[in-house]
Amino acid sequence: MMTNPWVKDFPQLNSGMCYLDTAATSLKPLSVIETLDHYYHDLSANIHRGMYHAAVETTQLYEETRETIARFIGAETEEIIFTRGTTSGLNMVAFSYGLAHLKPGDEIIVSELEHHSSFLPWQEVAKRTGAVLRFVTLNEEGRITVEAFQETLSEKTKVVALTYVSNVMGFITPLKEIVSLAHDTDAIVVVDAAQAIQHIEIDVSDLDCDFLAFSGHKMLGPTGIGILYGKQNLLQSMEPFEFGGDMNEDVEKGQSTWKTAPQKFEAGTMPIASVLGLKTAVEYLQSIGLKQISEHIEKVHRYAIAQLSQIDEVTIYNKTSETGIISFNLSDVPAHDAITFFAEQDVALRAGQHCAKLICDWLGIHSCLRASVYLYNTYKDVDRLVEAVKQAVKYFKELGF
């Protein structure tokens, strides 16, 4: 039995809850909460333009966050836009870039693995521009392969919008090869990294993707903050998505001009406290190292798969996944009945379509249970899950399911 040195950093676990829902949102280490407290308790200032101490410190921490994030993913500072979350970032790309660049007949490659936040903006842009959505054919496991991507790619492809890690299947998309192929035909690649950023080392300059979006709340950070990375030349060429305070240069009654990116895309007062908290979250991740985190996840994940596989009534949809996400069902028990049982045992899972209906359709299921393993999970959590699953199977059988 290993002891988990990180559990103590997460006060939410004090209640004794078995938290296996990180894919929905992660817990937050105390240091992140302390940063928020520092902002609200001691600063509570708006950024830029203020000259008093609190405003200056807040502004400095705010801009340092941008630098921290840039270094974290190998980007330039000017390529980091603060957003409300992954969803907002992906909408910005779809509407500021996509609407302006797509013509009838152009093709947008997506996949059935996409979260609705990575799919719906492009479905809408396709509708408005006359561009066509193309779906990468998933292999028998449900994975995006380079070969299948290559078959979908054509001279008409202008945008490739793919998830880095599926929030249902947990598979890692072979993005490096895909980006390289897409660029050969001059398509841009938009990456949904919401389920990757917290455990995969990302270097955008190496990956060479054009845009990449993720959320703070899934990477130990606060709610209400996300990041959109974009290549500088693309960002500079794009129109703003929202208009308002602080994103403008000159304002005249007849016409106005915008700042350069990233400020051009940050209209109005940003979620300042959450920005500051995100810096601390990244520092916490860096202090451990994503490599160590993913190794830990892998160990616990493999243990979970081994245990769950032994229960006849459990169907796992992604046994071969290389990340911490496990999607499964109990035979004859609808996911929403099962999840209520788990909740009563203080085992935190999630049931439903996970904002990814297309992959549920592909799997031929209406919904499923999802357990997701992260840094602060232990073998003991898995044991609790397995025990709860066994009890649930028994309970529902006896009820007559």
Partner: protein, 140 residues
């Protein structure tokens, strides 16, 4: 576990296993309404057939959890024979009961009474409501 047992009452399990009035009819006199709950995957269609202000038939079809399936079944059985007015009143009261709002406790909710256990499970209120909401829409 007592909470859970309160939810999965015998009547509910019985309706879940032996759903009443299941299967839709192709008849344009039937008003049909379908609701898909995008987060949990429930998908329920209700049909009702009204003559002279009286519900002559009520059908249901779909898939979902035991609570949503059973509540659709109970609904159809209860509603057949009621006037539209009565039906709407009962449905409203039922929906208030399961969502833990003020409701008329003196009104007879018949078998639907067993869904009162749902109040302890706020996350399951939608499961117990979906068929009833669809039903109300068939009467619009």
């Amino acid at each position: 576990m007592s909470g859970l047992d309160n939810l999965y009452r015998e009547v509910i399990m019985e309706h879940y296993k032996n759903p009443r009035n299941k299967g839709l009819v192709e008849n344009e006199n039937y008003k049909t309404f379908r609701i898909k709950n995008p987060s949990c995957g429930d998908d329920i269609t209700i049909q009702s057939f009204v003559i002279d202000g009286i519900i002559k038939d009520c059908r249901q079809e779909g898939h979902g959890c035991s609570i949503s399936m059973a509540s659709a079944s109970v609904l159809t059985e209860m509603m057949i024979g009621k006037t539209v007015e009565e039906a709407l009143e009962v449905a409203e009261n039922y929906l208030n009961m399961v969502s833990n709002k003020q409701y008329n406790e003196t009104m007879d909710l018949e078998e639907a009474e067993v869904f009162s256990g749902v109040r302890q499970f706020p996350a399951r209120v939608k499961c117990a409501s979906i068929a009833w909401v669809a039903f109300k829409d068939t009467l619009k």
